[in-house]
Amino acid sequence: MNLLDIRNLSIVLKSATNPILAVDRVSLTMKEGEVRGLVGESGSGKSLLAQAIIGVLDEKWHVDADRFHWRGKDLMRLSVDERKAIISKDVAMIFQEPMACLDPTMTIGMQLTEAVDGEQLTGYFWQKNQQRKETAISLLHKVGIKQHKICLKKYPHQLNEALCQRVMIAMALAKRPILLIADEPTAAMESTNQGQIFRLLASLNQLKNMSILLISHDLENVTHWTNTITVMYSGQFVEAGTTKHIFEQPFHPYTRALVDSSPKSNSGLPAKSRLMALPGSIPILQHLPIGCRLGPRCPRAQQACVIAPKVTNYHGHQFSCHFSLKGSY
């Protein structure tokens, strides 16, 4: 049974004159204990999708899906409050820009104890405060912060980005989630810190059997840590499959370009030759091309591409392209 099964999820930016389809029928499945990468250029709607899953988008967005199952339960049939209760119990998210996600006027300690789930505490109410504190400290230890005394008293702006990220992870762990969504957990971090954060997430996955949805704009960055990968482009589904398939035999021209543009695959190139990359840049929301949104940048595009391609499934490897590279391997 799938942990999370989302089929054709769309997110519309509401507006009286012309509503914009920011995310266009994207599907995503996650198995228990799986680490899935969600990859796409900046602006391809990864964060929107993640926020739609945990239900924190505000009223100006409208979310719709053909199917939204959580551990076999159809969440579309439930009321908003019931859905929220289930999701916020089982799913935790660490957002992009960890520093901005901490309340600037509260100490880390207060915010961390607040995140501790009251139902996990066993004592009487006069013991609860102490228990909360102890839980907070053990959470900090779990994410590798040894000097909890100092850290608890600090305000967010007194910590660096990597420490804030650890605190955010600690907060996310507070409710013992089954699924952790990590939105660019290592953006704007030095590579040593990046490695530490990834290793921390990997150990959580192995020890706690926690599923992780790892969002990144850099395909190569996440290949080492993921089992499966979903690729998005400009709010559309591109390709999904095992990390090995995606990296070695991408069927979609966009994934091909992503793989080719990574420094690793370019390492054999002679010095000063051009790196492989797609021409142009990702369209802005106000000027989305019709049909396959990759069209204007795609080396294989033909007339048929003005109609959005359907998802093709080939031995569990899904892709959405009229003229895929399937035959070329």
Partner: protein, 342 residues
Amino acid sequence: MLIFTLRRLNLFIFTMFLLTLLSFSLSFLFPGEQLINISGQVNATPKQLMVLAEQYQTDNNIAQQYIAYISHLFQGDLGISMASQLSISNEIMSFLPATIELTLVALFIAMIFGIPIGFIAAIKHRKATDNIILTVSMLGYSIPVFWLGLLAILVFSIQLGWLPSAGQLSLVFEIEHVTGIQFIDILLSDSPYKWQAFQDASAHIFLPACVIALAPATIFVRLARTAMMDVLDSQYIRAAKAKGLSFRQIIYHHAIRNAMVHVIRDVGLQFANLVTIAMVTEVIFSWPGIGRWLIESIFQRDHTSIQGGLLALSSFIFIVHIVIDFIYAALNPLARESRNGA
């Protein structure tokens, strides 16, 4: 925090320097003899004038004149009133406390109503409640204060007879003048009618304070609304939602404190505006404050009093400003840091 305090102290000294410089230059800018403007001695004999010229060093250069003026200020000597020939510092000491009392009560009323209403409007953004609050606050802001004051007297004092229309306290109560702040004096006094006096003073201050508070309150509504909307749109509120906190918890634990930080910073700026409104209101309600005294001095072309009164009033505004800055720093850990403090 030490650096923050030092910075404020620095600012205080610099601003006081500018204020005294302005007040000093006024004595040149006003029509008439500078020496008489600065001292207020309109009936002085030539001999007395010689002594004054010596004191204020009018024969020396302008810097020395300024230093002489400052040393007079430090001795508490602001000259005497041209109109009444009374010592101006004594006059200020007897009138300023009433103004302090009135403006602080008005500020309190404006904040206690304006800020929560603004928060409610932000939480009910784009709903009927928000629109009604915005419309009413627009209306409240556009009402001229003298018209509102007269209307308030007409309705609540004359027609309904609920509240007194003039003065600070009924003459039947004999309260000793200690601090000048009526409420404190009443509490300090050992009159057997203390409690009645307190009620009477409250009744007297209520109407003028409300009239003064209306316009600033509407500004606070808008400030609080914008601040709360910004906060509710921020990343950490979204993260708090994802944590599974209820809307109530988010508002009470995170949103209000952060929005207050933004509002408090602007309260200091609004205070100067509030004092200006208070000056007009003091005239309407015959409130024995420095605003009324200053306006009377302007009518009497009492240049020495105008100088002294302006200096006292602007110092008061500035001190309130600094106090509010400290409250802001207490609420906002970012402001306490030296690298971010402005």
